[in-house]
Symmetry: C2
């Protein structure tokens, strides 16, 4: 695609491989919007084709199937988040002599997601799609979550275990689920805060959200293990 782009000249139409790449990206954008609005099951290739002004057969030609199209859409930005997570944790762990604190680890984890939400229309679409993906219980969605997120999420869990040697590792895993639930809900675009507080408070300021959520999850992560449960290690 880079080669194709570099051959384009101003004022002239792009060549054929450039047009193909553009069309492919357009289909992915349209599909991302459709899947994020309605979820996987009710979205048809025919509807995506109509919105992208292409024949559904072309979508199948490019991507193979609806499932493959969805996978391509999800991984396109999913891998961006994961790269950013890795980068942020790499930075923290590269610091000599002072291992990352719980607050630093949690802030990095939340930041990568909220940065994507702030990155423009496509980021917002993906964030909504991701909230849907996390809510599905079929085999395809499980596989995609596993393939995209697991290795990096386990890196964060390992960093938390090192930062919290007195907390039962089982409890750290459980707490990570609570963190994921809290941030997915805040990213889903459902502004219950506005609703419940009758407009007194709003959750549209991303910095405020990251700060308040970090305070909450750091306290939850760091509090002593639940008593009365068997320690797992």
């Amino acid at each position: 695609m880079t080669a194709a782009k570099s051959r384009r000249r101003p004022g002239r139409p792009s060549n054929e491989s450039g047009r193909k790449a553009d069309k492919r990206e357009k289909i992915l954008d349209v599909a991302e919007l459709a899947f994020s609005e309605k979820g996987y099951a009710p979205t048809s290739l025919r509807a995506i084709g109509a919105k992208a002004s292409v024949n559904p057969a072309l979508i199948t030609y490019y991507f193979g199937s609806k499932e493959k199209l969805f996978e391509t859409v999800f991984k396109r930005r999913g891998t961006q988040i994961v790269q950013r997570w890795d980068e942020l944790l790499d930075e923290l762990e590269a610091r000599p002599g002072r291992p990352p604190t719980v607050e630093e680890i949690m802030r990095a984890y939340l930041l990568a997601e909220f940065e994507l939400k702030q990155s423009g229309e496509g980021g917002r679409r993906f964030v909504r799609l991701q909230a849907r993906v996390h809510d599905e219980t079929d085999a395809m969605h499980f596989r995609l979550r596993r393939e995209v997120y697991d290795i990096t999420t386990r890196r964060y869990l390992a960093a938390l275990e090192r930062a919290l040697p007195d907390i039962d590792p089982a409890e750290i895993y459980w707490r990570m689920m609570f963190v994921i639930g809290a941030f997915l809900y805040m990213m889903s675009g459902v502004d219950r805060l506005d609703d419940l507080s009758r407009g007194r408070y709003k959750s549209d300021d991303i910095n405020e959200l990251v700060e308040r959520l970090t305070t909450f999850v750091v306290a939850g992560m760091s509090t002593p293990s639940t008593s009365g449960l068997k320690r797992s290690d």
Copy 2:
């Protein structure tokens, strides 16, 4: 319905108004399952009719429209949760001399939901439906959440404000959103814990879940307000 039931005799078919009530409940059960599995938009009255072995026209006759059917399904068990929430908070607030603690308030809030999940197949269906309802951003879902949950959720917020006089009320509202997100995720039936920990930990023990989640949210709720943000009151 009670009068109709009392007129039934063993070994004899139920009378007509009893059969109607049974059929109505059956449609609600089938609709609850269908909406919880696929969500509102992709579920048709025709599909519900087929599964309940009734003509879709009969569903319209009983309930008016797909939206009204959904509302009836959602409110049937939604009002149960809200009643249980009110009961539990009433008990805590009736105790003389010792106002409810953050831990008591949070445990009551989580317990009502998890009790419903444990109450059988219908409870489980509803809990899944509710997770879907919380993830939708259209006007109907906003209205239903507002009508069913808001008054009681504000009672819990007011109790938390009294138990946490040093925390900025805005922060208590925000934190309630994080609590709702965390428990909805744990109730959605997506067992990421099993997946991420490669089977080492499982989230299928409701008591363990309530204990660990209570520890987490009590710590998050009670920690000092986020510094560097303007206090709202």
